[in-house]
Assembly symmetry: D2
Homo-oligomer: 243 residues x 4
């Protein structure tokens, strides 16, 4: 990482920039740069990044409970773009212990925290330790409760620290769901077929459901919990920042 990279100043400077301008900045400044892809409508940020640099490095978190359609889509993306797609899995000893003790649907009773912690956060932490910068598909309009202040560039305090600073790019922060879908349809970008069956936001199979017409997409995630807790922890900074 170049020492002169000042995320706060750049976030202000790029506050109104296009996703492509933000991605270009990221690609220019960092070699050890990874794009986190979830298999949902963040395909847009992957498509944009890939068009700027065919060697973009991409990883995804295979929690072991994704929809069959999501696994198919991940493979389709891998082949369509000719990228390698690093697939991260949860630590099996922690997973076995959790599931054997609490069963396969504990999150409905105890909340999604422990399960997301094992299936998503630990593998992500493992991946990001030592990485200089990452790119996400987060948008402010995805969650009025927790994402309304997402900056386009930030220093990641959840997975990095002052000794090992980690820069986080959110090039779609200002994009609306409508813009994302206009992009997908106009540019004929591949998408997860679950989006044809009422799914807007997509996560793990037991924790995602389709939404009704005009229902906010976040209501399709962890619907048995309070809106302010509808983050898996991948973007823990959103919650920290609010306190």
């Amino acid at each position: 990482m170049t020492t002169q990279f000042d995320p706060q100043a750049l976030a202000e400077h790029y506050a109104k920039a296009t996703p492509q301008e933000i991605l270009s900045l990221a690609l220019e400044h960092f070699d050890d740069l990874w794009l986190s892809f979830s298999g949902a409508d963040d395909i847009v940020v992957l498509d944009m990044a890939w068009k700027l640099n065919k060697d973009i490095k991409v990883f995804t978190l295979d929690t072991g409970r994704l929809h069959p359609e999501t696994y198919q889509f991940l493979q389709h993306v891998r082949e369509h773009y000719g990228i390698k797609l690093e697939v991260l899995s949860p630590d099996h000893l922690a997973l076995q212990k959790y599931v054997s003790e609490k069963g396969l649907f504990d999150f409905y009773q105890s909340g999604h925290g422990e399960c997301c912690g094992i299936r998503k956060i630990e593998p992500l932490r493992r991946k990001l330790s030592g990485v200089e910068a990452w790119i996400t598909g987060q948008r402010r309009d995805q969650s009025p409760g927790t994402r309304s202040h997402v900056p386009v560039i930030e220093q990641d305090q959840a997975f990095g620290n002052d000794a090992n600073p980690l820069i986080k790019f959110n090039p779609l922060a200002n994009y609306s769901s409508e813009e994302v879908w206009t992009y997908i349809r106009m540019l004929e970008v591949p998408y997860n077929t679950l989006h044809e069956r009422g799914f807007a936001s997509i996560g793990c199979e037991p924790c995602t459901r389709p939404t009704l017409p005009n229902q906010h997409e976040r209501e399709g995630r962890w619907w048995w919990e309070e809106a302010t807790q509808k983050e898996c922890g991948l973007h823990a900074g959103n919650l920290i920042a609010k306190n």
Copy 2:
């Protein structure tokens, strides 16, 4: 029908009225008043009318090609509201001739006109002949191409005429899809389960498909045809009025 009923003047007077005010007007003025229910999100107008008058007369057009879920919903509505629900079927001789000659999916080649003519328009015409007034769930926002000028009250020139005037009430003309769905969710009105699988607008099974997030609901109907032809003829006046 009371002779002094002036649809054009009342349409202006009620242009900004609530759906309930328009329904009250209809119920006050007409005994021979029928609500046309399609088994989709027009459940809202049925719910509103029923709350004003438990004896509201309702009919539906069973084209013989509805989704299994729509038949289940029609029955659920019949039982939930305790209404009779008149179910109209297409003339079997015309239907047999058409389907035997042109097959079961002719509309994909020849357009939906002939099929809708037999399965929807003829039974509707049969029903409305001799009826004084009817109520629909049409909304302006359902179809930018054909419904953007739907008045709240009109004289129906498609199914009535000067000798046998027919008044048509469109109490939801000004309602948005968002308002419809807020009503359904807030008042816990029953809805067609297809709405949980990506369907916004619902018609016959082979001629309806789910829409993607942020795609206009009308793109889920007769998608192989031009936008300006996306009316089955039930609301033929919308097309006449535009010429």
Copy 3:
């Protein structure tokens, strides 16, 4: 019909004949011969007949409540074999009256008799009046309770009478379900995709369900009724014969 055709004597003579031999006999003796096709695994008898005579006349009963997959299959068969496929519909006045009065799922309470009577028997009677002979896909193994004595050839007493004799051919009477499916797979005959989702026997959508492994196919039909009533009336002779 040739006067010398003696169904009982021929039934004995052809008791062990192949389906093709029985079909050849039918095709030789009758011009006014119709094959009744339901859109299920009776595709085998249609395939056999068509291979003997490309001009085989075929009809089907569109009850108005078939599965979407069955409508697609009927169309596929129409195109694959290049046949006309006469599609019969229920009398709309009788249908409207029944459904408006008793609802769309009355059969679950009152039994399937009245509904089958309107949707299947009346159109079939209309079709067979004046016809000399028809071919079905009935098999003895389809229903231990009602079909175990189906002869390969019979005089139809349910839809014909002595003044207007009607001959009924059941070329698959001796075939087992296993033979039917071996035929379909070996000869790559098209089949209803419902058969890929656990459906063995296929009728109307609300009155058909998939069966479990090793469950008799007839348990997927009118499962809320007694086994001895599991006939829609198309083959009413089976019930008459037992008394």
Copy 4:
């Protein structure tokens, strides 16, 4: 393990015994006895064992690619029987390496060997090392190619060895699919809902498909491969024994 346990002699002695008699023998002789449950119709052996001993120890292999319905069924079984259900997961480092390099559907190209090796065999080997005896739901009729000689009791040469002998009980070896399903229906044993949708044999989601009526259940597994390779390796002894 008691030293005098002679699997070969007992296999002969119990060759015609009921599943319950074989299970009783297993429960008598071994404390460190585990039942392997796959989430399919081997629920029958679990039900039988649990009725003999409510403390029966059960494990399952969560490959990370099971059907959502199978995860639901595993949880249902856990709650219905009040058992702990040990859930084993594949080593995440091996899994990440395999999937990142070869993609998420490599088995369609390279065969299922490597994937089953990582997702099933390694966790099973880990579990069985040090265990004295295990119980499976294998049946001879499941696979004419590979399981036709499965004994009711055997010394497991695939996961045990002479230094650490492992006894394997196959109490359903002589049972037919028909008997399994009669047991499930008569005793109202819970079953995986996939069995209601045409699935007979059930494994991982991408490697399992429904079968047609009268198609052998094994044709629903790894259908792109030769019949003689349709074993995941859990019962590797079946292949060894044939050479």
